[in-house]
Assembly symmetry: C2
DNA sequence: CAGAATCCTTGCAGATACTG
DNA sequence: CAGTATCTGCAAGGATTCTG
């Protein structure tokens, strides 16, 4: 059965009765994966457990604040676990839970798709932008590339 | 080969040289799927082509503004196509492109995962919140449920 | 019907400083 | 080292109005 039908069936079930968007399970999951950092952190932890600072280094452009918060959210959802070692100074290790590992499979499929199709997407964007530029400035000025 | 390794390999390749986050292809794709609406729209269109108003009805809590914008973005990325029928009043039909359809497969995998594990995630949240409430109010006051 | 344009609010996220 | 706390901006997104 093609994926299309799997999704179609689900969709009909959702909308069947009152589709309460706030309770849609897919929303919750995709909102999480959609935020800038969750996915990258999960991917980083897919290799092996990491300490706080290690994750920061693995994901260079995340702020301490956002890292803490994202880790909390992932922990709250049961995707990662947090283990504190009472050393001095303290060290904390994060690792994927079984649930978190089970996410790797579909996540990997998505990442693979992204890589396989990034060129197509890029081309589509260029084409779209070119077409848009045409319609709004048929005789090109010097606008392109301007601020 | 387990998904874990697929992701691990990619991750190492990315971080190998200077990991320019802004050019990471996965970011672009996941940022799009992560926004509140793109995924729902794609799923709706998975069934069959829809007109503008139909999509609105299928995704009840989206504003006209956001729908227009999200459709534009999806079109720009080549995932959907837009066909205008010069009737009066005008009608516009959106449908998935081949590229968009190819996304259904991994997307379906993710949605299936979300559905299969929503109970586990929910339980994890409850447990986490309960534990958090304990540590910050060992002898419970009346705070829980307050504003 | 399908959208463009405008205003306006909010909550997310960055920077900074402090703590155990 | 691994966080918390606070302030502040800025931009995503909702409501509303106007048009072809």
């Amino acid at each position: 059965m093609p994926a299309r039908q799997g999704l179609a069936v689900r969709f009909e079930q959702w909308s069947a009765e009152a589709f309460d968007a706030s309770r849609c399970p897919v929303r919750g999951v995709l909102d999480r994966l959609g935020d800038k950092w969750s996915t990258l952190i999960v991917i980083a932890l897919a290799r092996r457990p990491h300490r706080f600072g290690e994750i920061r280094r693995a994901v260079p452009d995340i702020s301490k604040r956002m890292l803490t918060q994202t880790l909390r959210d992932l922990e709250r959802d049961g995707l990662i676990s947090r283990q504190v070692f009472p050393t001095k100074p303290p060290s904390v290790e994060y690792r994927l839970t079984a649930l978190g590992e089970s996410l790797l499979e579909p996540l990997n499929a998505l990442v693979a798709w992204a890589e396989a199709n990034q060129a197509r997407i890029g081309a589509a964007r260029v084409a779209f932008d070119a077409a848009a530029a045409m319609t709004e400035a048929p005789l090109p000025g010097l606008e392109v590339g301007g601020r």
